[in-house]
């Protein structure tokens, strides 16, 4: 993968994600973690190689198929990417609305999710009034609200205090136990030490895989 005429950001990257698996993606800044996630959530096209998602070669996806595939993927963007003129509730419920679900069916779920991430009292707030940690939690809630088959999170605990970070991780692990495949890109050594997961390490554009260590502690 390369951007324009620039150097290759990713090469010799080959892996498969099993349904219901959990993996951590790590590596130094600029190693290509975000690029790899962008390829997985279809924000970029690979310049060479093959990417297959849910059994479909993404280079052969039609315009009509792409949105349906994206709805199976939840993404926590590193920069949150909340819609500023919508409330917290509206931001979180957006994936369900876009899927044209009836609000009566998910309103309670969205409110429960917001309570869970500690934003029950801030449902009607606009993102501009939220702290970095609160924005992070809104972004996470939006990513998981539609119970995606694949959850991709780019530094999800980067802006939150340890207590909230732990709650967020528990949420990811709970989703994983329920069958969602989760990939978390992180620098957080605490997560790398404590989460029992495969670790993908990116360095100089190459990917190496480390198996779960026996001493890893599950949350």
């Amino acid at each position: 993968m390369r951007y324009g005429m620039g150097p290759e950001v990713l090469r010799d990257v080959s892996f498969s994600l099993e349904a219901g698996s959990l993996q951590l993606l790590t590596g130094p800044s600029g190693a290509g973690k975000t690029t790899l996630l962008r390829l997985l959530y279809l924000a970029e096209h690979q310049t060479r190689g093959l990417i297959s998602l849910f059994g479909k070669d993404i280079s052969t996806l039609s315009k009509a198929e792409t949105p349906m595939l994206r709805r199976k993927i939840g993404v926590v963007f590193q920069d949150f990417r909340l819609i500023e003129h919508l409330t917290v509730y509206e931001n979180v419920a957006l994936p369900r609305k876009i899927a044209q679900e009836d609000e009566r069916l998910y309103r309670a779920e969205v409110e429960e999710l917001l309570e869970w991430v500690g934003l029950g009292q801030r449902q009607n707030a606009k993102p501009a009034t939220l702290s970095g940690g609160e924005k992070q939690r809104v972004a996470i809630a939006r990513a998981v609200v539609a119970k995606p088959d694949l959850l991709l999170a780019d530094e999800p605990t980067g802006n939150v205090d340890p207590e909230i970070g732990e709650r967020i991780l528990r949420l990811f692990l709970e989703l994983n136990r329920l069958g969602t495949c989760v990939m978390i890109a992180t620098h957080d050594q605490n997560i790398l030490d404590r989460v029992n997961a495969r670790v993908f390490r990116l360095g100089e554009g190459r990917l190496t895989m480390l198996p779960p260590k026996p001493q890893h502690l599950a949350f």
């Binding site: 924000a43 009509a64 949105p67 819609i83 994936p95």
Partner: protein, 298 residues
């Protein structure tokens, strides 16, 4: 439109920075379009009215001559005209009528006594019938000093003028439409650039292109309608003001050859179509632009 409870979800913020400016531009475009259309319709009506009036009548002019007395000359001409096929009525203008026709140029007074003013006969043609003017002209040749004016020259000049003016009017309307299209394309692209992050997020969450396009279409539909209605209102006030000033300036009794601005309800109907067309153009242009821009996204 999607709603959250009673609240509507708008992907584009309604208080978008370009909103007020765009409203003004669309309103001005509609104002100019309505004014031009109003002028074109009025001119078209005037031109066809003049043409109808001139085609339905002719004038026989009897020049003063020594060969025959004025009374005999008029009688001879009237006999030819009254028996001619296709002619409804022929009427010799009285001296007072001739004097009033000359009054704007020669002023009041006994001008007819001092000047050898020709006698005029007004000829009205039966509706839907044609008169063989060449044969009539030849027949009137027997009456000394008689000439026939079938208004053909005037009619051709007026028609030519009207056609040119109408052509200019339609060209101006075409340019205004083109400028409006360009403004909307520019505004949609600017809007997409300003809100690119929103579009990208919604795109990544799994929204279909048509869903995003519909949000923009709705935004520009209302913008086109609101701007269009403001433009229409302003143009109606201007046109009615112009009609009132024109009527006052022309004075009573001058209606035969002076235009009646906004005289027909059809004119109003055509003008009402302008903001509707503006909204339709804005909506379609925004849709096509959004689909083109989103189509380039991964």
């Amino acid at each position: 439109m999607l709603t959250f409870g009673y609240r509507k979800l708008q992907l584009m913020p309604s208080e978008s920075a370009s909103g007020a400016t765009l409203h003004i531009i669309i309103a001005v475009m509609n104002f100019l379009a309505c004014l031009t259309l109003g002028a074109v319709l009025t001119l078209s009506d005037i031109a066809s009215g003049w043409s109808r009036g001139l085609s339905a009548s002719m004038t026989v002019q009897l020049a003063v001559t020594d060969q025959i007395s004025a009374e005999d000359q008029t009688d001879a001409a009237m006999r030819v005209l009254q028996s001619w096929p296709g002619i409804l009525r022929a009427r010799a203008l009285s001296r007072e009528e001739a004097a009033s026709l000359l009054e704007p140029w020669l002023g009041q007074g006994n001008v007819l006594q001092d000047l050898p003013v020709p006698q005029l006969i007004e000829v009205q043609i039966k509706s839907g019938e044609k008169v063989d003017t060449q044969a009539l002209r030849a027949a009137l040749g027997a009456v000394p000093g008689a000439t026939l004016d079938d208004h053909k020259h005037w009619n051709e000049e007026l028609s030519g003028f009207a056609r040119s003016a109408l052509g200019v009017g339609w060209a101006v309307l075409g340019l205004i439409t083109l400028a409006t299209l360009a403004v909307i394309v520019f505004a949609t692209q600017a809007g997409l650039n300003v809100h690119r992050d929103i579009v990208e997020v919604v795109h990544m969450i799994g929204a279909k292109d048509v869903f995003i396009a519909r949000e923009y279409e709705r935004h520009f539909l209302w913008l086109g309608l609101r701007g269009g209605l403001i433009g229409l209102m302003l143009s109606l006030v201007t046109l009615m003001g112009a009609a009132w000033i024109w009527d006052r300036a022309a004075g009573p009794g001058s209606s035969a050859f002076t235009p009646h601005i906004m005289a027909s309800p059809w004119h109003l109907l055509w003008l009402i179509l302008v903001p509707l067309a503006s909204a339709a153009i804005a909506t379609l242009t925004a849709r096509m632009t959004v689909l083109r821009v989103i189509g380039r996204m991964p």
